[in-house]
Amino acid sequence: MTLAPFKIVSKRVDDPEAVGLQGYLATGGYQALKRAVLDLTPEAIRDQVMQASLLGRGGAGFEAGRKWSMLKKSDVRYLVINGDESEPATFKDHMLVERDPHQLVEGALIAGYAIGAARIFIFLRGEFALGLERVQAAINEAYEYGAIGRNIFGSDFSIDLVLHPGAGAYICGEETALLESLEGKRGFPRIKPPYFPAVIGLYGQPTIVNNVETVSNLPWIVMNGGGEFSELGVGRSRGTRLFALSGDVIRPGNYELEMVKNTFRDLIFDPEMGGGLAPGRQVKAVIPGGVSAPWLGPDQLDVLLGQDEVAAVGSMLGSGSIIVMDDSTCMVRAAWRIAKFFARESCGQCTPCREGGSWIEKVMRRIETGSGREEDLDLLMDLCDNIVPGVSWPPQQTTICVLGPSIPSSVATAIRMFRDEFLLHIKEGGCPYE
């Protein structure tokens, strides 16, 4: 019902001046880093972040403070910022890197200081050409300004920061695939256990991977304290968060909201947010956290936008992107498109993901284009079952990473929620929406 009382990560995005160092400094930039390296110990910062209950904003929603505390002791550790943002309908990091690059750089430096990193890499999605330009410019300015490099702001702290461009592969958002890619290899996720990056990461060294939005919160937390941050939100979900709203709404866009204060309905219909649907249209389904998440129905719009709250109804908040589908949408086509995405983006290592994903896509295509058979629905569910035993949520995994287990989410919920629509396609030999 309300926007956040104040903005934390998106406060500068409408100020074109803030892209440059001068504009950034004029709006309080680098104060936090100064305070951090001159007045605070790394432990103190880690405590603040722990207090803040800053959940990772990349999708998995793991607490940043806890992740940091799992970092293995070692002389060489790395910090890697995940800016690969390729989860369909997620576009918050895109905005942050283009419109407030210094905040990202400052946040990364604070995190690097807090965990004692030897070097920081920002892995940015390769397609973000403007983002690459702006972040590199910010890095250059920050070196010049003394915020990166030797003896930052006259302190004992020295660090380098390298911007690394991706090259177009969704799977590289997965943190271990990202590390492989950063090492110059194919983006094959690493098999676990036991290789959590915090134990064995980049070049075999303990590594923290944090999302762009996650670290963009850090300057504010250092300036205002973790306690202040956790004043906002409820339970595990604290602070604010960027929700990327897209699909069949009047005002798609990124909205920074206090956690657990608004429902899906608020976000979709509030005139200051989504502004509702086109006249006469009804919500048919909502995808709550990127296309890896199972769909919600119109009866679930009053769920609060919080990590545990969405999990409680059998889906996830994920990357915080919310896709609204109105009643003019063909559910078979929507689910097929998502299946096609996964089939294209599977890295290809695991049999269930590589073969299962493309098989499912082919069957979905057949149904949508008019050659579906009644037994296809059982076949689809069984193929899903072979990737995620029991087609359960949260998914049980037969693969190395969770891309595989994400494949069934859309297909299985679409079949469960809209079975009649599938049958209609099969009976009529084509898509009734065309």
Partner: protein, 882 residues
Amino acid sequence: MNDSDATVKLVVDGHEIQAKPGEMIIAAAEKAGVLIPRFCYHPRLEPVGVCRMCLVEVKGPRGFSLQPACYLPVAEGMEVVTNSDKAKKAQDGVLEYLLANHPLDCPVCDKGGECPLQDQTFVYGPGESRFVEEKRHYPKPIPISKLVYLDRERCIQCDRCTRFADDVAGEALINFIGRGGSIQVNTFPDKPFSSYFSGNTVQICPVGALTATPYRFKARPWDLEQVESTCVGCSVGCQIVVQSSENELVRYLGLDSEAVNHSWLCDKGRFGFESVNSSDRLGTPTIRNGTAAKEASWTEAMAKLAEPLNRARKRPESIAIIGGAHLANEDLYVWSKLAKSIFGTDSVDAQLGDGLDPRLLTRTNRATIADAVGAEVLVLLSGDIREELPVLFLRLREAAISSGLKIVELTHAATSLTPNAAASIVVSPGQVEATVRSLVEQSGQEPSDPSIAVAKAIIAGADPNRIVVLAGRMNQAGSSLDQERAIATLIDAKPGSKLLSGLRRANVNGAIDMGFVPGHLPGRCALTEGSKELIDAWKQVPTQIGRSTPEILAAAANGEIDVLFLIGADPISDAPDPELSERALAKVGTVVSVETLPNASTRFASIILPAAAFTERMGSTTNVESRISLLGQKLVSFGLSRPEWMIAVEIAAAIGEDLGFESMHDVWRELSVVSPLHRGLSLQALGSPGTREGVLVPVRRSRVSIASNRSLDPVATPGIISVEHSGPPSSSGTGRGSDAYPGIEANASAVESVDSRISGDLLDLLATPNEVAPIGSGDLVPVLRRRLFDGGTMLVRSKNLTELAPAPRVTVGGSTAASMGFAAGSKVTLSNGTSELPDLELVVDRGVADGVVVVDLDGESGLTRRVIQGENLRLTIKLESV
């Protein structure tokens, strides 16, 4: 080192089993008799867990979940269920997925009949595929090298071949290309998978995606007959399965021997069997009178031989024998006895001037391969191991990368192990002893050469008992004395260190042990050290030390040799001075050639006696580490050919002597009594299941019930699991070869007798170095280097390998090239003042010392030997074109 005996207990399908800590569930279960299905897992490759076929239920804190058995190590108290409905459903699901895009062209697929995908599909039997979509299509098989074809439609993306190429061979020439459903294995365009080890990828491919040119469409698995054997391509002694179809060899497979080859083979070994099938094989005794050659019966041939031989016996030193490095141990013993006790000559040499002083091997502590890979420091004083002992290279490379073996290399040019060496010292010919001296001497002076400084520190810091010297031939040109003195210097300076033989010819190490070199008797004894039993059996032994191969040839050229036996030897192509060899052979009255295939020297033979090839006869061979293992017989011998030991018996009979052998059992009965090295052994003992990996001699331990570990990966060749598993349950000792055998008695006095000959003053045995003439300006000192595919006899007769021999090239260092103004890729002529070798490609390699030119040794053509002859060691290079 006791933790290797520690075990953990876990429950698999309701039965408690024991496993080693760190072992993966899949391996532990397999040993307990539960075969979990798998495709990507290979016991000798790092697991990747990608195919997901091995999913089983494992109980964790939150109950049972599906886990890849190939990727999860065992843990105490772990509960694993491999056959529950849930596990089966997961496995069946994966299988169905794999089949979705698989072409199912089994009737025309080489793998048909031994394909785990096919086998498991029968078990699972989905009947009709639920996959009605269009399958993935690629153009049918494409050659990715001269030896390997790739059918991408059949590939199941298990990552085995690519992991092998990258991790084991260190040559990432094939890789996954693309992503997701369109992922394929391939090479870079126009950069073929030309690896010495490419055949291994064919063996480990679980489907018919990779096939070997020599085997394609040759046979069906159910028609194959097979026998375990030992590869004789070189002296590593890789354990193999020899397969034939209709009395023709069709395939070799590498057996997984923990001690030796870890299931790998090199392509020369794997495909060299084609020479046995060659149409050039010698099948009938031949007698030559002048230029007229006529086929003869064995009786005629023996009659023809008896007369000159009887004449020559009056002057034993006029009889000489060259060759024998390719013979079986039994042949060597019998020929040794024939020469030394019947003929009375000691001029017998299995080395062709390309080896080392045999005393380096008979008077030192010998190392095993396990010693070498488990050493702290391995000092290489040898040629490029990848070129000469390929599978040993794989073992050493792995040890350097993953178990901390520090390799210190002395070399004339960068080798394949240079990238993995802790220190690589480039020395010029003639400087090896001096360099070694600077490594081991105590002087406080810091060496100026940084690589020497590093090496010196490494050697000084190492436990001498954990230093192994790999001794081969660094340079095929010129005298080996400097290098031999270097080896001796190092070993003398580090008491307790061991020597691993780097002599590369198939059974040259066995030949030395059988006394088939000058100055020796069987069992590493000198002529004066023969046991009482030996004297009893042999009646007489020569008292004069005989001639080595170069000396025999020189004497022959002087008219001092009347009867010369060439046993599997071609001195014209193979000995250091081809022109001397030609003169010598032309001069000898009776040259007797005992051969399987004709070669340049058989032209000079007045009597040619056809020998049975390996795979056509039983016997045993001895590898670099003194491991005796069996040769299997799979074929009936070609034509009238016979094993060499029988030929020796016949020759003795022809001159009215009786060697006393009617079977190989007889040979062993005598050998195991007269030779302290072989005491207590017999053919039966060698063939018993507990010694399938061979026996290290002398036998130092006995009756420890570690059975040897020889097996085939069930995914590579599922059809032959049953054969290979018929022995006692195998242990999977990691890194430790077993040197103890059930049923064989160690004999303390025999061991003592062998060890007592190990001298602490090796250097004293060797001659003092010659004066080295100073090098004229513009002259280059040659280093003649062996290549694996060298155009030798075996290679030339193996039709799929012939083409692989590269043209010989010359390599110089950067500053040499610069000072002469030569660019890499130029065509040059090599000259020694009298002869010239034109049209050679010039390679520039920073790892070559100044003033040195490295020339690749070629085989049958013997061209490079003609320019780099004997001791004539000053070369110039002329530029032809850039």
